[in-house]
């Protein structure tokens, strides 16, 4: 199951809620304002590091670009809209709005 998160972890509880329900191995994709979670060296970096131990983590490159995020936490993979569709091919989707 693909989990998507579209809100800033500083403003919303989406990220912290989502991870309580996450099964190991399931991919987490950050989109829209959600991508601030994976900017390197912010106060959520330790949490991202923990998630990465059990789950692959992705972020949408166009959303990173739009927000001027040039450096993401180690281990976070970036993809474009086609990569997003690719994840949806492989998994049912759980959008944590």
């Amino acid at each position: 199951m693909l989990h998507t998160i579209n809100k800033s972890p500083f403003a919303s509880d989406s990220l912290e809620t989502c991870i309580r329900f996450l099964e190991p191995g399931d991919p987490v994709l950050f989109i829209e304002d959600g991508v601030y979670a994976v900017q390197a060296a912010n106060s959520f970096s330790p949490l991202i590091e923990i998630i990465l131990k059990s789950n692959p983590v992705f972020a949408l490159q166009p959303d990173l670009d739009a927000r001027g995020i040039t450096l993401v936490d180690n281990g976070v993979k970036t993809l474009d809209y086609e990569g997003f569709v690719g994840l949806v091919e492989e998994h049912q989707v759980n959008s944590w709005l």
Partner: protein, 129 residues
């Protein structure tokens, strides 16, 4: 006949509605419930998960007269009549809010986040409201 039923079952999808917003401040839970009531007529395998502020929608003693918005807590009590019987509440969210099942208008199954997470993984469709 047996085959027909099998074919029908193959068309039954597991659909989970996730309620995560407090009632009244936004319309998401109210319009979510409208969606659930319609979907209930389609004989799918429906379930509802109350997570985070979504739990507040089930709080007893809601009286919306003062804010001039229609209340809908009672509608959750009618779900039973639509054969919507799988109502899951996230224990962590409940405790954080200082609530217990005694505070809720309907019977629910209280589960750990991990248990609800496992149920999520079995779903064909998940809709957050």
């Amino acid at each position: 006949m047996a085959n027909m039923e099998l074919e029908e079952n193959a068309n039954v999808k597991k659909i989970m509605h996730v309620l995560r917003h407090a009632p009244h401040g936004t319309i998401y839970t109210y319009e979510g419930l409208e969606m659930i009531l319609i979907m209930a007529a389609y004989e799918q395998d429906l379930s509802l998960a109350f997570i985070g502020d979504g739990i507040y929608a089930l709080k007893k003693n809601q009286d919306t007269a003062g804010i001039g918005i229609k209340g809908f807590a009672r509608t959750f009590m009618a779900l039973d009549g639509y054969d919507v019987e799988k109502l899951y509440v996230d224990q962590h969210s409940l405790e954080e809010r200082g609530l217990t099942v005694e505070d809720l208008v309907v019977d629910v199954e209280v589960m750990s986040s991990a248990e609800i997470g496992r149920l999520m993984k079995e779903q064909d469709v998940i809709i957050h409201h």
